[in-house]
Symmetry: C3
Subunit: 168 residues, 3 copies
C-alpha cells in the first residue's frame, strides 16, 4: 500500500486541463492557469479537443490532399491563437480587438506569448486524436513543440494522476 | 488516520462529472470521458443539471398533468440525445448533421450509442432534483436505466470522494 | 513524508471553483455547489475571473476617475447578480424572468440570496486581480464581504490544496 500513497502524494503536483473551447477568453484563462501552475513547479498536461484545437493551428496554407470535410473545417475553424474571438461581446471583432489593446497597454502577455512561455516551462500540449480525425486536421498543420496526438485513454491516465482537473 | 488514507487512495478511482450543458459537442465530450474512465476501471458518476437534462429525455409524448411552465419547457428543451445541437457552427442544423455524418463515416460511436455503452459499463447517471422540479420534468419522461434524481448534498458527497471532478 | 500525507488528507475538505462565466444559470450552479459544500463542512474558495466578476458588482453609480475603457466595460458588464441573464433561452429577458418566477414559486433561493448564504457559511470569494485591471473595475464597485483581489499564484496554491476543482 505504501507505494500507492506515494503515488497519490506525488499526484498533488499535476494539473490536467481539457481545453474544449476555442474562445479567446477561455483559452487565455487556460494558459494563465497552465503557466501559473508550471511556474510554481507543477506538471501540466493540456488535452486540446474539439474547438480547442483551433489554438494549435499554424497560420499559412493547409495540408494538401485533404478531404472535402477537412477543407470545410479548415475554412471555418480559426487559424491559430491570433485569430480566436471572445465568447461574448465580440461585436464583429471590435470587442476582441479592444481587449487585446487593453492587454497590450497593461503589459499583459498576449495568447501567442503565453503559449510560448507555456512551452518553455514544459507544459505538455496534446491534441486529441479523434477530434483531429473528425476535423480532418493533419499534424503538419499544428504548431511545432506540441506532443503527439493522443486518445482518451491517455487523457484518463494523466487526469487520474493529477490533483487539479479542469474542463475549460 | 490509516482509514482516512485508505479512503483517499481509493478515491483515486472515482470520477465525478456535472453535466450542465445540453450542447451536442459538450455532451459527447462528457460521455467520451465517462466511458473511457469506466472502461479503465474507474467508478463514474454524472450529475445532470439544467440544460444537461435534455440528454436524458425520452422521445415521445410528455407526461400528463404538467403545469403550464412544464409544458413550455417541454416544448423548448430538446427531446433527448438525438435532438441536441452543436454549441457552435450549428448553422440551422447543417453543421450538426455534418458532424454526425463524419462520425458515422469514421465509425465513431454516436451519442445515443455512447450513452448505452456508458450504462453497460456501469456509469451512474443522476438527474438533479431541483432542475427537474424547475423545468417540470417527470421521472417517466426520462430514459430507463438512469438513477433516482438527487440533490446537491449527494453530488457533494460523491464529488468529494472522487479524484477527477469536472464541470462540463 | 507523513506530513505530506496529512496535508493531502486534509485537502479532501477543500473546494476550489474558478467562476469564469457571468451567465445567470452557470453562476447559480456555482453557488448551489459552493453553499452545498460549505454546508457540509468543506472550505470553499471561488475565484471570480473575466465575466464572472459581473456577479460581484454593486448596483449604483460606478467609481469616479475611470479610464475610457473602464467606463465602456462598466456600461456593458451586468451590474451584479440581479442583472445576469441565462446562457440560453434568454429571449430578450423573457426566459430569464420566467426562470426567476419559477424559482420564487418553488421557494428556491434566488442568486442574491444564495450569495448571502455563501458569505454567512464562510465561502471565500476572491476577485481576479488581472481581470479587474483589464476591465477597469475598482474595489469600491464590488460587494462588501468579498476578499481582496488575488493573482493566479494564489489561485494555484488554493486549488492544489483542494480535493474538488471546477472551472465554471
Amino acid at each position: 500500500m505504501s507505494e500507492h500513497i506515494l503515488e497519490e502524494v506525488e499526484a498533488k503536483n499535476n494539473v490536467s486541463i481539457v481545453l474544449f473551447s476555442g474562445d479567446l477568453d477561455k483559452v487565455l484563462a487556460a494558459f494563465i492557469i497552465a503557466t501559473g501552475a508550471a511556474a510554481s513547479g507543477m506538471q501540466v498536461n493540456i488535452f486540446f479537443t474539439f474547438w480547442g484545437l483551433a489554438a494549435l493551428r499554424k497560420d499559412g496554407p493547409g495540408a494538401k490532399k485533404k478531404s472535402f470535410i477537412g477543407k470545410l473545417f479548415g475554412m471555418m475553424l480559426p487559424k491559430g491563437a491570433k485569430k480566436l474571438a471572445l465568447s461574448q461581446m465580440n461585436m464583429a471583432g471590435m470587442g476582441t480587438a479592444m481587449i487585446k489593446g487593453v492587454m497590450r497597454g497593461q503589459k499583459v502577455a498576449s495568447l501567442p506569448e503565453l503559449m510560448e512561455i507555456a512551452l518553455e516551462l514544459g507544459v505538455h500540449m496534446h491534441p486529441c486524436e479523434m477530434s483531429m480525425n473528425l476535423m480532418g486536421l493533419k499534424k503538419e498543420e499544428l504548431l511545432t513543440g506540441i506532443e503527439e496526438s493522443v486518445g482518451v485513454a491517455t487523457y484518463i491516465a494523466q487526469a487520474s494522476a493529477s490533483h487539479m482537473t479542469l474542463f475549460i
